[in-house]
């Protein structure tokens, strides 16, 4: 029915997802990690929309709406956490934000 090649759209979504994953794994700054998570969520939404328009159904776009709501609430809470972390620790480096690490383990090592 539809004449488009779903494979290429899924390929683009996969490339964007992997780029976001690389960003999450390699960056140290917490803001860059959040940006990369947004890229990954967006790529997942792209895959949903591609699947939805492959079958000509609105369900893929509805899933994208839910991903959008989830991304919006996630980014607002995460940015509040970033501001608290910057306020209390004066750094955004995730390697330095180790307050939750167990002290006993530290002493044994």
């Amino acid at each position: 029915m539809s004449s488009f090649n779903a494979q290429s759209v899924l390929l683009v979504a996969a490339i964007l997802f992997v780029l976001g994953l690389i960003g999450v794994l390699t960056r140290k700054n917490i803001i860059f990690i959040l940006i990369s998570i947004e890229i990954m969520l967006n790529a997942a939404g792209l895959a949903f929309v591609a699947a939805g328009s492959k079958w000509g159904q609105p369900d893929g776009q509805i899933m994208f709406l839910f991903i959008l709501a989830m991304a919006a609430s996630e980014i607002s809470v995460a940015l509040a956490l970033v501001m608290q972390a910057h306020h209390q620790h004066k750094t955004l480096d995730v390697a330095k934000l180790t307050e939750l690490k167990d002290e006993i383990e530290h002493a044994e090592m």
Partner: protein
């Protein structure tokens, strides 16, 4: 599948690569906006105009602006002026501008030729169908999304608040000051942090 899809995909991937390799958050966010615009173009070529509009309004509008505000609030240091000078450097804005101009050329091409369904070869799923499906079959999920957004708002407002140091009433003296022992541990924490 039209040629516009391939151009937009190339722009999206290039912009995303630039996002994850920038050092300065603002530069990354500039590229991120271009990436979202390109993905909106992909959605349009997939026959999903409603989602394309939402992508621009919510992702490129709201979420990126939120990130920019936080970056702006956190960078109020002595090097703000230096960044301001760097901001005017053409090297900063030439990349996003070129990618955005490519998208603009696509838009102009669409407008000049006139959008017919021959360009967008995919059958368009219109908003009416989406909204009927959203409020009929997915009504539970819509309500759950409402819960999620409510929790997000409350959580963000609670976490983001600069609160006074709060102690349980057993740890406070009667006048609300902190115990001497508590003060000692607090000082120790400060020393560790230093």
């Amino acid at each position: 599948m039209s040629i516009l899809f391939y151009i937009s995909s190339a722009v999206a991937i290039a912009a995303t690569i630039m996002v994850i390799t920038r050092y300065h958050p603002i530069h990354a966010l500039l590229y991120l906006v271009v990436s979202f615009l390109a993905i909106a173009m992909i959605f349009l070529s997939l026959g999903a105009p409603f989602v394309a509009v939402l992508e621009i309004i919510l992702y490129a509008g709201a979420i990126v602006v939120l990130l920019i505000f936080v970056v702006m609030m956190l960078n109020l240091g002595k090097d703000t002026a230096m960044q301001e000078k760097l901001w005017l450097d053409p090297k900063t804005w030439i990349g996003p501008s070129i990618l955005a101009v490519v998208l603009l050329a696509e838009l102009v091409a669409l407008l000049v030729k006139g959008t017919t369904n021959a360009d967008i070869q995919v059958p368009v799923i219109e908003v009416k169908k989406i909204s009927i499906s959203l409020y009929r079959e997915y009504i539970i999920a819509v309500e759950l999304a409402g819960f999620l957004l409510m929790a997000g708002i409350v959580g963000a407002a609670h976490i983001g608040k600069h609160k006074q140091r709060y102690l349980h009433r057993f740890l406070q003296n009667s006048d609300g000051t902190i115990n001497a022992e508590e003060m000692k541990t607090e000082k120790k924490e400060e020393l560790i942090n230093k």
